[in-house]
């Protein structure tokens, strides 16, 4: 009897999981995403204003790097987001590959351009920091090189998906590329520890940070703003992708009146 109950529980759990996936169909996700977008824009604006205020008017001048250090208020959030978005993108792509759920693959596709943008901003702001501080726009250092590879992984993911006409096959090929590329994320993250890099180590430490508290707060607020921005813009893009890919279904014809 005990075994029997266990099986029933199992069935109930799997049924509720199936229900959940049915809810995450393109048809129900399209309006849901539309309702979420304004909230994420509002959050991005609030965190952005607070973060910029901290970055320029509250955080003190750095003793060693003068006012030039203020670049970190955009450089660090962009770099964090470039890595984090990649992990989220690979997760959704992998889920789409394993469970054949369309919305997850569409979400991965929607995240790629935003991730590429964050990687590009990370490299750009890094170069603008490197020139005055190190005397070079670019060096072939482990941290910089692995971040450049991340940027190319995003571009490769987008190019591969664009090159394959059948969207489901494009999703699968993209997912494999995204999952293989995940190995690069710990390489970027630990590069400053594993190799002797010109790029400085992390200044953020929960126990003992080498930064002034107001600097740390400015950075965290800006990171939150970048995070909310990324969600808002990815949700906007996923709505377009849903309509593009589901255009021959009845619900899309009714959704766009």
């Amino acid at each position: 009897m005990g075994d029997h109950g266990g099986i029933e529980d199992c069935i109930r759990v799997s049924q509720s999981i199936v229900q959940w996936f049915r809810f995450a169909s393109p048809q129900s996700f399209y309006p849901l995403a539309g309702r979420m977008v304004p909230w994420f824009w509002a959050a991005a604006a609030i965190f952005g204003i607070a973060g910029l205020w901290m970055s320029f008017f509250v955080a003190p001048t750095d003793a060693q790097q003068g006012e030039g250090y203020r670049i970190i208020f955009v450089h660090v959030p962009a770099s964090w987001m470039s890595m984090f978005i990649y992990l989220v993108m690979a997760f959704w792509a992998g889920l789409g590959l394993a469970l054949n759920t369309r919305v997850s693959s569409m979400m991965a596709q929607a995240l790629a351009p935003t991730g590429a943008l964050m990687a590009a901003l990370s490299l750009w702001t890094g170069a603008l920091w490197g020139k005055p501080m190190w005397g070079a726009w670019w060096v072939w250092d482990a941290r910089l090189t692995s971040e450049l590879i991340l940027f190319f992984l995003y571009l490769g993911f987008m190019a591969l998906q664009a090159a394959i006409d059948d969207p489901r096959r494009a999703d699968k090929a993209g997912a494999i590329l995204a999952l293989v590329g995940v190995v690069n994320i710990p390489i970027i993250y630990f590069s400053v520890k594993w190799w002797n890099t010109l790029h400085q180590g992390s200044s953020v430490n929960l126990a003992k940070s080498s930064m002034a508290t107001t600097m740390l707060w400015g950075m965290l607020l800006m990171a939150l703003a970048f995070w909310m921005y990324s969600i808002a813009v990815a949700l906007m893009r996923v709505r377009a992708i849903i309509l593009e890919r589901e255009r021959h279904t009845e619900w899309v014809k009714h959704a766009v009146a």
């Binding site: 001048t61 006012e67 670049i71 702001t125 603008l128 906007m236 893009r237 309509l243 255009r247």
Partner: protein, 64 residues
Amino acid sequence: MQWHSVGEFFAMGGYALYVWGSFGACALLMVAEPFLARRRLIEVRRSLIRERLADELESQQRTR
């Protein structure tokens, strides 16, 4: 606050090019990207509406 004048703020202690180059690039791209995403959604919606109108026109002609 560490700034004594607006000019001093914009000069960024001699790092103006680097600081404003960084924040400016972020602002530019983070305005352009949502704009493009929004345009993509509007474009697909427009083409769907056109398609629907074409379908309606076709069915009207057929019934005539």
